[in-house]
Symmetry: C2
Subunit: 325 residues, 2 copies
Amino acid sequence: MKKKGELVSFRPDIKIVDCTIRDGGLVNNFEFTDDFVKELYQTNIQCGIDYMEFGYKASKKIFDVDKFGKWKFCNDDDIRAIVGDNDTGLKISIMADVGRTDFKNDITDRINSPVDMVRVATYINTIPAALEMVEHCNKKGYETTINIMAVSKANDPDLDDALELIGKSCVDTVYLVDSYGSLYPEQMRRLAGKYLEAADKYNKKIGIHAHNNQQLAFANTIETLTMGVSYLDSTVSGMGRGAGNCPTELLLGFLKNPKYDIAPVLKFIETQIKKLKDDGVIWGYDIPYLLTGRLNQHPRDAIQFIADKRTDYSSFYQYIFDKDI
Amino acid sequence: MKKKGELVSFRPDIKIVDCTIRDGGLVNNFEFTDDFVKELYQTNIQCGIDYMEFGYKASKKIFDVDKFGKWKFCNDDDIRAIVGDNDTGLKISIMADVGRTDFKNDITDRINSPVDMVRVATYINTIPAALEMVEHCNKKGYETTINIMAVSKANDPDLDDALELIGKSCVDTVYLVDSYGSLYPEQMRRLAGKYLEAADKYNKKIGIHAHNNQQLAFANTIETLTMGVSYLDSTVSGMGRGAGNCPTELLLGFLKNPKYDIAPVLKFIETQIKKLKDDGVIWGYDIPYLLTGRLNQHPRDAIQFIADKRTDYSSFYQYIFDKDI
């Protein structure tokens, strides 16, 4: 195993990307209070977080703005209402889904926007469309990433081809994404090795976005970062769809870079996350997510099971198991 | 990294040791209903679990039997009331703490007992006393293990000496125990390498007992098992002191040995674990456990914090951080 850095050293190339609003928004329909988002912004600055992702840049031609909170659309003005001129070390990121973003109209010159980085989320079969978006955003002046989702469903030759194609593009960073929380550390290390090889060849950076279906989001994140992965997605208390993500507080506890501080995020959990949970917003590891993760399935059935307040885990398992045959 | 087996293969040397009653008993004062213990016993048989640990063999000269549930003492008759003659493939284990067990009186011939294995829990400085207990139990006919607790506090030369000493004894299995849930996979692999080297030299087996303070219990278990560790401690839903243990259902989801079946444990969670949780029994990952784990401290302050229903995480962190200085 290639290894970069030691447990007691720190790596200046590491960047933490806080996805609480974006991935957490999938849990509460992006309906965060302004107070929550403002306090998270201040918390991220104090913790030394590198990027804060405000949400999706979803197309208003496809999605009804009245049916979602504003962070599904991330208008520049809404971001500015939180960050002003953002005269800080924290950069601002948004996510743009292939096929669900009106990027030609909605993503305009960076110089007029508070946004620093656009992350393009794509399945492996829509990479050409993702590259078109990346070229657009790059020309407009943004940092860019390509996040290849559901890589646990991709086969090796396709992934190799995809990494070659992406390597030759202008994108800055490529993300290894365990969408279904199905991958074990051994598999993540193997995939990270593949991504890092392409990164070396084409001078890109590699990121990781993990899900916690099998309580492996943090483990997979630190195992791959040890190999050289440097863009690390996390969310406060792991808030995110289904089983959620790598918790920021675990990651901050691990990293040795003195710019990072865990204390502000602990305060944020006290003041804001506790309130969300008390209000009944639900996410995080639970048995049905373990089961979809184990079977390498999309978590939608597990999300419905939890929403229905069911606890008949064994019949649920039989149901999703039979679906796969 | 040495590696034993592939992800799709199975290792016949693997043994799962269910510690739900023993480590879980630390959460509810060993006050399980007979119904719970009987159903767990049947569940373990159906799941293909290899050992079921019924509890501690605590000295009645030191502990008042009226102040604890019966599984702190594990009378042979109480075990027999659950297992009868135990004419099954599931073996029975008990734990004996150094200095807290009246082993000369209470651990008698195996031929008259339902117990198959005695696990001796020791700190590194009490290993000579642990070896005396192991010699006793071995002569009485039991399988034995030595579980070196709090290894994250031990230094390397002491641990090397300890492993040499244990290697030369009659013990069957030596356990790597992350008592405080403070060790990262990289550290666990290094320690497992050390234990496995001693095991090779002296023909012993190595076990792992992990805690979930940093959501790493499952990851650390599967990472070390891949290297050759073969006795794997787990508990249903991770029930155990503080942040709890490696959840049996995650482990059963990972292992490829066709003798193991996850479905019965899912049923047990539905029928028994849910009831415990509804009754207010609390365990599992939470912020204060992450913080004691991160600082390599005993979880007692975190357990008290949770019991007091406090949520002022940042002041708690400052308090335990200052204690260390």
